[in-house]
């Protein structure tokens, strides 16, 4: 284990530790613009240069390993001068519109400029005058603001393997762009938004829909009915100074009411409903002998990814709509009929941790109510902006309850927001519905946590069911390639697979508060499991409002009306049509 000395502080670190990590351990913050703790080092920005005794040149702390006896200095006069100059070079190429920028206050470039006391620029400023690409449903790209750190490319190419964006051009003309002259709307982008959450500046952001939502709220003719996804309740608080993972669902209901939302439902309700439908689908396949594996369908980023890269596995994907879309179609049918509000007067709004949900709501098949099932999708961040704009002190709210009919939820529903949660929820219900016996230990810890691929087997009535859980699309790609090859060889490696497009599951979605690192995602996930463990009922089939829905409206899981309103179909997509 090497001993090094950083700015006069001796420290012992593990072999293989980078200087950047060692400095962090020693309590020294080396500035970076391209390095992110969740992403392999890129070495592009040059802000982490340090001086090592006996070395003629400065080295990059992010990609240089700490070695025995190194005497390292991180903030010499010379280094500070050089980094100030380097920052000026970046700023001279960056638009001067911080006050209007969506990342104002959360921008890593802005923070460094502040830290280094950049008060004026010696260089003449220039802008590139590039068009803004707002063709995608969920994500907007403004390459004039791009600093070319390469995080988004690394995330899209290697962590998500969506391969929607890459570097093109060279020198000062270098640009990150979709390939083959496509734009974000027409290319392979799945709108997962992982590029957005790792972008250090405002070059990538969600397509904002707050204007439409304000308009709907302020129109007395319209009835706005909202739903809130599981993962939002353990993250929104961060926007108001609370800790990641802190459960704020009652405050969210309260804030939505104060904003003027007429009816507040909860996506957790439709998560329970999803389990009833998907559990039934699974048991049907079990009695029919397949096809296996059944793959979950809640994550719209994964769905487009699957349609694009694994079209031969489409029949393995559950036909269940996601909880958002189930809720959307019920709001404009069941809720509309129950309350006597005409569907054309209802605006269906969902609050999601996700940018891909905007894409999902816009899919042409998502209008089984006869209308657009979900009119607007706001990310967690957008809702936070509305709450601030309305002058609501979110952290001081007492909290209220949601509206009955489509709001009750079980613990199984709330863990949908974390990787492994859908699998655990489904198994809790499938086991009991199939065997008629209560599941003894309902905490299926084998599928919980941040490990990239989790597998387990569970015995139901003597039949051994193999399940797998993956999060992050590169892991999905790896698992599905394996599944596909096994399938070709006539084997069934798994019966049931849960796939979430984002690492950590929905808690790490592209619409979540920034910072949105694995660290925050993990804490948010724990917050959901904590809520689950304290709820009076923890299995989807115990949800009384779901039972009422079947009794009064849908009849039975997998029934005709369910099929019409709660199930969907998928489309084979070409990666690139040239």
């Amino acid at each position: 284990m090497p001993n090094v000395n950083i700015d006069g502080r001796p420290i012992e670190v593990e072999t293989g530790t980078t200087i950047l990590e060692a400095a962090d351990k020693a309590g020294i913050d080396i500035p970076t613009l391209c390095k992110h703790e969740d992403i392999a080092p890129l070495g592009t920005c040059g802000m982490c240069m340090v001086e090592i005794d006996g070395k003629p040149d400065y080295v990059r702390a992010c990609i240089t390993q700490a070695q025995e006896g190194m005497q390292i200095r991180t903030h010499t006069r010379e280094l500070r001068r050089i980094k100030r100059n380097l920052l000026q070079l970046v700023l001279a190429a960056h638009p001067d519109d911080c006050l209007q920028c969506i990342r104002h206050g959360e921008c890593e470039l802005q923070k460094l400029a502040e830290k280094f006391e950049i008060r004026d620029l010696e260089y003449d400023q220039y802008t590139r005058g590039l068009p803004i690409d707002s063709s995608a449903a969920g994500i907007v790209r403004d390459m004039n603001k791009c600093i070319g750190c390469g995080r988004c490319v690394e995330v899209c190419q290697n962590l998500q393997t969506v391969k929607a964006i890459s570097f093109f051009g060279r020198g000062a003309d270098t640009i990150v762009s979709p390939g083959a002259e496509t734009n974000m709307g027409s290319g392979v982008c799945v709108n997962c938004g992982q590029c957005v959450v790792y972008c250090p500046v405002g070059a990538l952001h969600e397509r904002e829909q707050t204007d439409h939502v304000w308009e709907a709220i302020e129109n007395p003719e319209l009835h706005v009915a909202a739903q809130i996804a599981p993962a939002v309740r353990v993250a929104l608080g961060e926007e108001f100074g609370m800790a990641p993972g802190e459960l704020v669902i009652d405050k969210i209901y309260h804030a939505l009411k104060m904003l003027g939302i007429d009816t507040v439902f909860d996506t957790n309700f439709s998560a329970d409903l999803t389990i009833m439908e998907e559990g039934t689908e699974f048991l049907n396949r079990l009695s029919a002998g397949g096809p296996f594996p059944l793959i979950t369908s809640c994550s719209p980023g994964w769905i487009k990814f699957g349609e694009t890269y694994f079209p031969d596995l489409i029949e393995n994907i559950s036909s269940c709509k996601s909880p958002q879309q189930m809720m959307g179609s019920l709001i404009k049918t069941y809720f509309s009929e129950t309350r006597g509000i005409p569907p054309e007067k209802i605006v269906s709004l969902s609050i999601m941790p996700c940018t891909a949900k905007k894409f999902e709501a816009d899919r042409p098949e998502m209008n089984d109510s006869g209308f657009k099932d979900v009119d607007y999708v706001l990310t967690t961040r957008e809702l936070a902006r509305m709450i601030r704009q309305a002058g609501i002190s979110f952290d001081k709210l007492d909290g209220v309850t949601s509206d009955s009919l489509l709001s009750a939820y079980s613990g199984a529903a709330t863990i949908f927001g974390a990787t492994g949660g859908v699998m655990e929820a489904a198994l809790r219900t499938a086991y009991e519905l199939h065997t008629g016996k209560p599941l003894e230990n309902i905490n299926l810890k084998a599928v919980r946590g941040m490990e990239e691929t989790k597998t387990a087997s569970i015995s139901i009535d003597g039949e051994e069911l193999r399940v797998a859980v993956v999060h992050g699309l590169s892991n999905a790609r790896e698992l599905l390639s394996y599944v596909y090859n096994e399938q070709q060889a006539g084997r069934v490696p798994y019966h049931f697979i849960e796939i979430m497009a984002c690492r950590g599951g929905c808690v790490g979605g592209g619409g979540q508060p920034i910072e949105n690192s694995l660290y925050q995602r993990n804490l948010r996930g724990q917050g959901l499991y904590k809520e689950d463990s304290g709820l009076p009922f923890r299995k989807s089939h115990e949800n009384p409002e779901v039972a009422a829905l079947y009794e009064h409206y849908l009849e039975k899981p997998g029934g005709e009306r369910s099929h019409h309103l709660l199930h969907t179909h998928y489309t084979r997509r070409d990666a690139y049509t040239l």
Binding site: T44, V90, E122, R170
Partner: protein, 417 residues
């Protein structure tokens, strides 16, 4: 055979014909190598003290000796000759391609490779054709392919054309490109000899380096190393261009003086003003440079680099503000764009140099340009960005007053108008 044995130009032919090449003494090196153990071949090249002719000057034998045993090893010839003022590799490939193929085959034998690639710059399409024909001819004579000359050693070569990027001349960027990726350099270590093409051990050598290898094997390390000077052995091809009467490629022993080289190239057209040595990233000297010796160590002592052996001569009619402009434009156009300092720095340097040359420059630019070069030197990812300060600072050191005067003159013109 002619008298001048250890000479590359000796093998130059107008028409490419393998039998004529063999008639000149070609393939003696390969035959000699195949009669030796691999390790003996490496030792012979080490003893010759041959250093890499692409610019870095790394000892070739040492590079080969560093290749670990592996099931799959590659030899890559760097023929991405993108350095302005450098056209010696082109000379070799046009006039004596078999020498290169022979050198690569020996390299393949020495490091245990079965496969070689020639990565040739996209701007050399006709030369790529010449090489392809040469490959066919070499295969037909069993100088390439299976069981070469009955030795049991098999080796073949494939030609890959580049897309026109300068940075791909860097060996790691070249390998990225060769694998079909964007031509970004990568961090060393790992060195390509440990982990190169598709993570396999890979030897990357310049065209000229490989082309001297057959001569070393044919005539012995001693015959090679006695040519040149201590630390820089053998003959070398120099590319002389600019304001000389006979620009071209000249072969001289290492350590030739700038004066002798320019004389060989027919002398200066007019009065000598400046010389740039080693390529665009090399320093720009004034007329004092005539006495300089062109070898690795002497050039380093002089604060420069031998680089590719390019010598660009400028006469007294040259406007140094214009030279600054051209030089900075080159860096801006060829930066790969990967790291911040190079991407943004070259853009600003180009902008300022352009304005100076256009008569709209400011005096403050000169200091700002040097500061920018310093930041790039300190923080750029690869040698490309790190080296911008070399031509910049040397130009301003020797001709700063002229550039300053040029800016002043323009200021005066503006005032008068």
């Amino acid at each position: 055979m002619k008298q001048n044995k250890v000479s590359l130009t000796h093998y130059a032919m107008k028409k490419q014909d393998i039998e004529a090449y063999i008639g000149l003494g070609g393939y003696h090196g390969l035959k000699a190598a195949l009669d030796m153990d691999r390790s003996e071949v490496v030792k012979e090249v080490q003893d010759s003290k041959l250093r890499g002719r692409g610019g870095a000057g790394f000892p070739t034998g040492k590079k080969w000796a560093g290749v670990p045993p592996s099931e799959e090893t590659y030899v890559v010839c760097n023929a991405d000759e993108g350095e302005p003022g450098t056209f010696k590799d082109r000379y070799i490939m046009e006039n004596t391609p078999f020498l290169l193929l022979e050198g690569m085959t020996i390299a393949g034998y020495a490091v245990g490779a079965k496969k070689g690639f020639i990565y040739i710059r996209g701007e050399y399409p006709t030369i790529a054709e010449t090489l392809k024909k040469a490959l066919e001819a070499a295969r037909s004579q069993n100088m390439l392919g299976n069981n070469i000359l009955g030795s049991g050693f098999s080796f073949d070569i494939e030609i890959k054309r580049g897309g026109g990027s300068y940075v791909v001349g860097d060996e790691t960027a070249l390998l990225s490109s060769l694998m079909g990726k964007r031509g970004f350099p990568w961090m060393k270590p790992p060195y390509p000899t440990e982990k190169g093409l598709w993570d396999r051990p890979t030897v990357v050598n310049n065209v000229e380096t490989l082309s001297y290898v057959p001569l070393i094997l044919a005539h012995g390390a001693a015959a090679f190393s006695k040519i040149g000077v201590e630390g820089s052995t053998g003959p070398k091809l120099y590319s002389v261009s600019g304001h000389v009467n006979s620009p071209g490629v000249y072969e001289f022993p290492m350590g030739v003086s700038v004066k002798d080289l320019i004389e060989a190239a027919g002398g200066v057209q007019g009065q000598l003003k400046a010389v740039q040595i080693g390529g665009t990233a090399g320093p720009i000297y004034d007329a004092e440079s005539l006495s300089m010796q062109l070898d690795y160590d002497a050039m380093q002592t002089a604060g420069g680099t031998l680089g590719s052996g390019a010598v660009v001569v400028m006469n007294s009619k040259t406007n140094m503000a214009g030279v600054l402009d051209v030089s900075m434009r080159f860096f801006a156009e060829e930066s790969c764009g990967q790291c911040f300092p190079c991407r943004y720095g070259t853009r600003q340097l180009n902008y300022m140099a352009q304005r100076i040359a256009a008569g709209t420059g400011r005096q403050s630019y000169l200091q700002l340009m040097q500061d920018t070069g310093e930041v790039m030197q300190a923080t750029s990812f690869c040698p490309f960005g790190q080296s911008v300060s070399t031509p910049l600072n040397s130009l301003l050191q020797h001709f700063g007053d002229e550039v300053k005067g040029f800016i002043q003159q323009q200021d005066y013109v503006k005032e008068v108008i």
